[in-house]
């Protein structure tokens, strides 16, 4: 892949400069951003930073995917890392 990319778990996703993390994930068919702390799955709902449903981890911080813009090389993961053991 030429052009700028972000990482979602083991996937590499191209993005358009200025695009939000939520939109880049949505275009790649990723709608479920992981489990939430109280059983409501993390996913885009309001799309404008009001509902706090789209939280993901970026650089060790919990941020709204719908408000955060993609930057080349950004590593994005679920808010809570899923434990597979």
């Amino acid at each position: 892949m030429s052009g700028p990319v972000i990482y979602w778990r083991d996937r590499i996703l191209a993005f358009t400069p200025g695009e939000s993390v939520a939109h880049a994930l949505t275009r790649a068919g990723i709608a479920a951003f992981g489990p939430g702390p109280v059983g409501v799955p993390r996913a885009v709902f309001c799309g404008i930073g009001q509902c706090q449903m789209c939280l993901v981890q970026i650089d060790g911080r919990t941020v709204e995917a719908c408000l955060t813009l993609c930057r080349d090389g950004l590593r994005v993961g679920p808010e809570q890392e899923i434990n597979h053991d």
Partner: protein, 432 residues
């Protein structure tokens, strides 16, 4: 010491309208917005190089050209986290700053209401507004099979915009019967009728089904698709789709900020009263002019009554009658396990466990309603309606009590790193 800035929160029609008038009158202004660009919801701007979708683009182009010619400071990708009793405001995000503004203008726009339904928390079920934001920024229709459901003219607008971009929705499911009394619609201002007629022509040409007096009663995940059960006056129907956009009208969004003794606070545009785009711009400008005059002369603020607001208020009341329905009662029929509060996962059963007519304290401390990061902005209406005798009555303004600081979740690291021009230490020192 330089003159303190007026802080305008929100870079949509009302916020930019106010900023322009303030700057023109010589007031220093800082406009903050969570989005990366000015535009707000109505004039959300496309990614660089993509086509603009929003109607009335000329109105926005004129306003932003006016703003760019004036000395206005901008802080994008920045949250307004609150105003404390001393009049100190906290901005967090790309701009991290504690400041003491000369005045605070809230121009936060409207908030979309979505009534809880079975399956409404599934991924790929979003607000219709979120689909519209995606469409406006990408310049493309959201992909896959899309169902739009709920109540209000926005559904038809989003459907028509999707259709024009080549992906018409599978259907529109509308609670009301807006076309049942065409004569009521004729009393709307011509501008409303023209816009609606344009959307309807697009939808009819593309044969998009509009089911009226119909309700989405349940959404289930089926593999990667969603199976949506709809009740219509002619019987039940099931749609298999990829995405669902829900929308049950728009509400004002005061953001929870109350009056502050230390600085003037004023709410303009849709966050004060939902009257739409034309009124938002008029309200922003009028508010900006009045505030500038009050700050310059040290006199109380006097807003001149606006004919635009009066006209738009009448139009909104008429629209509300056209889109009236009695579907709120369906809240009572939802299964007890339906999530009402998305932040804390509170269900209808959790609410019922608090007994009839619970008080705010019980709702918050026992039910944990309104205690999550959205502070009840999303669930307050549904908690109030579901515990009222008649869910159809309008709920109180702040059913779960006043919001507290910070209004939006912020990182402690940002708070510590925030530059302070308040003359005080960057962190409150009490309790250390």
């Amino acid at each position: 010491m330089t003159k303190a800035q007026v802080l305008v929160v929100g870079a949509g029609l009302a916020g930019v309208g106010a900023a322009v008038e303030l700057a023109r009158a010589g007031q220093p202004v800082l406009v903050a917005d969570r989005a990366p660009r000015a535009g707000g919801a109505i004039h959300r701007q496309p990614l660089p190089g993509r086509a603009a979708i929003s109607s009335h683009a000329a109105r926005w182009d004129r306003l932003i050209a006016e703003a760019q010619a004036l000395p206005i400071d901008w802080a994008f990708e920045t949250k307004f986290a609150g105003l404390d009793h001393t009049g100190t405001a906290l901005l967090s995000g790309a701009t991290n700053r504690l400041m003491r503004p000369a005045a605070l203008v809230l121009a936060l726009g409207a908030r979309e209401a979505v009534r809880p339904r079975t399956g409404w928390t599934l991924p790929n079920v979003t607000t219709a507004g979120a689909l519209q934001i995606e469409l406006k920024t990408q310049g493309l229709a959201p992909q896959g099979r899309v169902l739009l459901a709920g109540n209000g003219p926005l559904l038809i607008a989003v459907a028509a915009q999707m259709t024009r971009l080549g992906n018409p929705p599978v259907a529109i499911v509308e609670s009301a019967a807006p076309f049942a009394h065409p004569l009521h619609s004729l009393a709307l201002p011509l501008s409303y009728l023209r816009e609606a007629a344009g959307y309807m022509a697009t939808l009819i040409r593309a044969r998009v089904p509009i089911l009226t007096r119909a309700e989405v009663v349940a959404i289930r995940a089926e593999g990667t698709a969603l199976s949506v059960r709809v009740e219509t006056p002619k019987g039940p129907r099931v749609f298999t789709v990829d995405r669902v956009g829900l929308h049950d009208g728009i509400r004002k969004n005061d953001g929870g900020v109350t009056a502050c003794a230390a600085v003037p606070v004023l709410a303009l545009g849709d966050c004060a009263e939902v009257l739409g785009a034309r009124a938002a711009l008029a309200s922003g400008r009028a508010g900006g002019i009045a505030l500038a005059r009050a700050l310059t002369n040290g006199t109380p603020r006097e807003t001149v009554p606006s004919t635009t607001l009066v006209r738009e208020r009448a139009a909104q009341q008429r629209l509300a009658r056209i889109y009236a329905h009695d579907a709120m009662a369906r809240l009572a029929d939802l299964p007890g396990g339906t999530v009402i509060c998305r932040c804390e996962g509170g269900t209808l059963d959790d609410l019922r466990a608090l007994g009839p007519t619970p008080r705010v304290r019980e709702l918050r401390l026992l039910g944990r309603f309104g205690m999550g990061p959205c502070q009840g902005r999303s669930c307050g209406e549904w908690v109030a309606r579901a515990s009222a005798d008649d869910p159809g009555l309008p709920p109180p303004d702040t059913p779960l009590g006043r919001a507290r600081w910070p209004l939006a979740p912020i990182a402690i690291a940002d708070l510590i790193a925030a530059t302070s021009d308040t003359g005080a230490a960057p962190l409150p020192s009490e309790g250390t």
